[in-house]
Symmetry: C2
Subunit: 199 residues, 2 copies
């Protein structure tokens, strides 16, 4: 009989793990907190998963942290094919959505069927942003770049025509759905930066 | 009364999340799978957490995947202070252990007491490598650089005086404790590289 190590199930999982490495080369709009270089999507995924874990008591609705962490580990995998689309950048939302769905089909489709469907369902749930776990994950994903920009003295805010109203509408609204306490805590610092730099 | 957002608990958790960003600047001995640059410890932590999730059915002893993922998310945080010590490099093991324990005291100590103690206990469990969850996490942490080196045509193996016997002793022994199936699956490719490059 064939040794277990050559089972097609294992080879598919391994191929996905190898392909995932490419997320480390996808550059994001934001920088590291020290401003030294652009953040990559792989390390961003680690940071938001860790934040979802350590900030969990501050979720608005108690979330299943393990599920939120799993969502965040896979939430940007589509960027391997579709790239990162900065929140304050200009892009065709329908086109991005099409590209990301196609990427999800290919990438989650590398896994054995049930495993791929489970991770794809997690990603769909994250994107739909309606369950407590997805709202918590989304809030962390949106607030992490805010922390980066505050730490870096502006960071990616300097690269885009973003003002306090856009921040409230595009970022604050989403953070507040999952983590209003965190948004409210950061608001004085955010307002202070925009008052000085985008009066 | 004080607003909840200024509670010391939240500020400590947030400070830890901000400090954690520095792990993205710690360079490892290994490269990305495409060989283009050194891997950083932050992105490595994401990759091993994801691998622990997608390869879980191939753990030797069934592991609590959520716990193994949490361990891997925090397993390298000590490197913010202590740096990375490549497995095939030469270093004083006792000195490294001392530096890492001091780093763990400081970094996990930034969190509220119970949260910090919980993550510190997870890290201690990972380092002790005796529970099923830790053995699974360790196996993944050890095998990920092997995948990187195989993908990169040698990678960090070229930088150190490592041969097949050292691979078996330092890497294989640890991978086999948690994931013998994975080690056995990779063994033909590993042997082939060393047969050609370190005959
Ligand atoms: Ca590691």
């Amino acid at each position: 009989r064939r040794p277990p190590d050559s089972s097609p199930d294992f080879r598919h999982r391994l191929a996905f793990a190898v392909e995932a490495d490419r997320l480390k080369t996808v550059s994001r709009g934001t920088t590291l907190f020290d401003g030294s270089r652009r953040e990559r999507s792989g390390e961003h995924s680690w940071h938001v998963a860790l934040m979802a874990l350590v900030l969990a008591p501050h979720a608005d609705v108690p979330a299943d942290v393990a599920r939120a962490v799993r969502m965040l580990l896979v939430h940007d995998i589509v960027e391997i094919d579709a790239g990162d689309n900065p929140i304050h950048g200009s892009f065709d939302a329908a086109e991005v959505e099409r590209a990301e769905r196609k990427a999800a089909d290919r990438l989650y489709g590398m896994l054995p069927e049930r495993a791929g469907a489970a991770l794809r369902a997690l990603w769909d749930e994250f994107e739909a942003a309606r369950t407590a776990d997805a709202l918590w994950g989304k809030a962390i994903d949106r607030v992490q770049p805010v922390l980066a920009n505050l730490a870096a003295g502006g960071g990616s805010w300097r690269d885009y025509p973003v003002d306090m109203a856009k921040m409230e509408g595009r970022v604050g609204a989403k953070v507040k759905k999952g983590a209003p306490e965190i948004w409210n805590a950061l608001l004085p610092d955010i307002r202070a930066w925009f008052a000085v730099n985008r009066p």
